[in-house]
Symmetry: C2
Subunit: 500 residues, 2 copies
């Protein structure tokens, strides 16, 4: 493909992407294909000779598009959102067009310098203390691929720091702390690193937040048996219910355990720190005063296309001490002099994309005000949904709505006063039927979860095109399916009762 | 930015990318900025209000472009190439536009299905055995971010397998094997995982290839002291000199050590397997018959934009056994039934980009013939350069040219017969001066390395626009600098001699 063919193919791609966004609302959210659908349309081997790009582009529309779930659809409420903005797409496009890996400063100075600056911008947006800024030169921020990578990097750094301070400690005595609501990134890091993990139980009554007593108990009991807790992954905005660990409590405990690295995983909720009114609830002061590291994914709810996981550390030397390997073919004048950041020593891989470009485009394109407006709009829409749920006869909130996430289930009203209330098992059965019905639809997408044995449904707001109408429509669909599920279920139960 | 503003901004981006490629040859390869240049042009904080995209796009040209090293410049010969094709850019663009994370099948079926198919295409292109194909259902291929991630994943899988087969083994007795020429990904994996690594010495006489004796000696000596070698990272095309470990030898040894996982890291050279004439030299038969895993980066020398590290394993269960964590919010009907691949259990993170799209676009756009033609052209250009070096009075090859990589240095001709030949230290000093002069230029970019104490210069061919003229020009520049370096150096030496 020569330059003019590229111009033509790319203009067409742009037009088709525009058409996609104009027509997004009319599409099904969920793909209806069956496993194996694509092998029917694609040959077993690559073509011998190159094909015309028009054929390839048309095949994308014909065969790939039907197999896509539309995460940007205004009725997509599953998992957490994946950000996709036009500014983000443009950032990806420019970055892709020059293919600069930026693994050290001199491999492409702009990649490193923009990342250092824009991570400071992002820290500023979220109200992070200058202790985490690149400008100040002690802490710093770096873009990683995912929150799992960020967590893995931090656990490796914390382990290295612990072993340096406790040279006699044995690796098999080390233990990572998470809670029963921590994202699977905690147990995955433990699995990858071959480390023990202790998952501290958190309670529904506490909104699934880790509190002082539970943490202190764990630390004291582990001390007795010689286990060495070296890192706690605390969560601000858990995946299942948006739970927020009590960082003020954790801070108090951490003062007594200075060897415990506290990593704050705010992969989803962290971007809400951009709005000052949520900073208290999200424990910004505690993050600023004592957290060793903090992560939020701009590619989730932060308007930047995947991948853009932002990680800040209070002391960059903890990363580079743990990860620096500089063979001679990577040595450079500036790197040797220590006058520049060599980001390859801040993460697991070597090569890296020029990801700061899209973050820069998004932060400039939206400005602080535009970013805040988007976050506030998502929270307001979720509050509207939560209010509808709360006011309904069929549905009930399982936990307090958290920012842009609502977790709910069916709890049928008792028809007669003396009717015994339903067992957890029965309620779970009913809600599984309910979720099964919701999942069978193609006009909306939600996900399930389980909170200490309670089967629930999650609705997460985040697609940029979702408005009040989509929320009302989602509620209508959900209520319709809830009523149907209850009806079917009552018939079954009564039927069985009659037979009995 | 609304849809029409996006269309406009994107058309402009395309036009500017086209201009970039039209003007690439006239640019300096290397950026001339000094550390800290960008902070002078960019404010400390993000703007309060959103900015017009035209201003942002213009700032990209004004402030970012001057800080880029042009990896696609025809006179870029440093490191290894980073692939960038128009087909690859288009694949990135389409993928970015829908932002599908594809961490399990149902999150977007097309992402999983296309990756499974296209990895089979890629295996087919390289001549990999069907033991590695997704279609066959036992082995399989997956796209990772970098070869470092691929290696890390494989080491984790190998460790889990070893510990399952040897439940009494202690982690601290485990040892990874690399050679003194293995890429830093080996020692980085060891650092990350807290494992011992043994770096087996390889020799210049053997072209820096690992051979039977060295491997067997290491295994026998470790057995005596109770260490447990569980993985060998063998290299096909090392970074410093393109060395190729003797996989036929390794295979013989591995037959006696069935617990040793052999991973073949062919990050750079693996794509040359697309040309049948190199398959013997690159030990394809051995890879197919016994390697546990094989990795090559299409984003290096394989025409696909970063990131696109292709990893194949002979038994996919070794990955999923080591990495599968499925919390309830990620459970799906098809995943539970095991009828689909859930790629999140094949790598470290959870979220992932729709990377197979660009690989599909490239393989279709080029076809097998086009892909081969590009590889052969790079090898022929490198051969031309190596021949010039070999015929020159000043320069000398340090190792046999490997595919598209030449490693050379200055070895001045003795002016008088009885003049003593230069010591290694003197030669290294001279070559450092030589490389210093080359690095100070902006019209060409090469990198240095050291091979068992010999300081050398590397020239790697790979930019799609490099032609014979650029190779001749590179040689002219190199010879000019070599002559100047020798002259200066002789004057210094003679000057000192005269004074003495």
């Amino acid at each position: 493909m020569d330059i003019e063919q590229f111009r033509k193919a790319d203009y067409q791609a742009i037009d088709r992407i525009c058409d996609y966004y104009y027509s997004l609302q009319e599409r099904s959210v969920i793909s209806t294909v069956e496993p194996g659908y694509l092998r029917k349309h694609i040959p077993l081997s690559p073509p011998g000779e190159g094909e015309d790009f028009q054929v390839i582009a048309d095949d994308y529309q014909k065969y790939i598009m039907p197999g896509l779930t539309h995460w940007q659809h205004p009725s997509f409420f599953a998992y957490f959102p994946t950000a996709c903005t036009f500014e983000g797409i443009l950032g990806d496009l420019y970055a892709s067009s020059t293919a600069n890996p930026g693994f050290n400063w001199s491999s492409s100075p702009a990649c490193t310098e923009l990342e250092a600056i824009v991570m400071d911008w992002a820290g500023d947006l979220l109200g992070l203390s200058s202790a985490f800024s690149n400008q100040a030169g002690v802490g710093g921020g770096v873009l990683q691929t995912t929150a799992s990578d960020s967590a893995l990097v931090v656990v490796v750094a914390a382990r290295a720091l612990y072993m340096r301070d406790h040279p006699d400690a044995k690796l098999e005595d080390l233990v990572m702390y998470t809670t029963t609501q921590t994202h699977s990134l905690g147990s995955k890091a433990a699995l990858v690193l071959g480390l023990q993990v202790r998952s501290i139980e958190v309670k529904l009554d506490h909104g699934f937040a880790l509190r002082e007593d539970a943490l202190r108990d764990a630390l004291e009991s582990d001390a007795k048996i010689g286990r060495k807790p070296f890192i706690l992954i605390a969560t601000v905005g858990s995946t299942s219910s948006g739970a927020i660990d009590n960082l003020a409590d954790i801070r108090k405990v951490a003062e007594d355990y200075p060897s415990l690295w506290v990593h704050v995983d705010a992969a989803w909720a962290g971007v809400a720190l951009s709005c000052p009114e949520y900073r208290c609830e999200l424990y910004l002061d505690d993050i600023n005063s004592f957290a060793h590291s903090f992560c939020t994914n701009f590619h989730k709810w932060g308007l930047v296309n995947f991948d853009c996981s932002a990680l800040w550390v209070r002391d960059r030397k903890n990363l580079t001490n743990a990860l620096d390997i500089t063979p001679i073919f990577l040595r450079t004048k500036h790197g040797d002099a220590g006058t520049v950041i060599d980001y390859r020593n801040w993460h697991l891989g070597l090569g890296r994309r020029f990801r700061s470009l899209k973050l820069w485009f998004v932060l400039r394109g939206f400005g602080v005000a535009g970013f805040q407006q988007y976050i506030r709009q998502c929270i307001a829409l979720n509050q509207k949904f939560a209010n509808l749920v709360d006011a309904s006869d069929e549905l009930s909130l399982v936990t307090k709505p958290s920012l842009a996430l609502t977790v709910f289930r069916i709890v049928p009203k008792l028809q007669e006063e003396n009717q015994p209330s339903l067992s957890l098992d029965s309620l779970n059965d009913l809600n599984r039927v309910f979720f099964g019905r919701l999942s069978a639809r193609h006009d909306i997408m939600l996900t399930q979860t389980s909170l200490n044995g309670i089967f629930c449904v999650r609705l997460a707001v985040g697609a940029a095109r979702t408005n009040e109408g989509h929320i009302q429509e989602a509620y209508n669909i959900i209520i319709e399916e809830a009523k149907f599920a209850v009806q079917t279920w009552e018939q079954t139960v009564n039927g069985v009762a009659t037979v009995g």
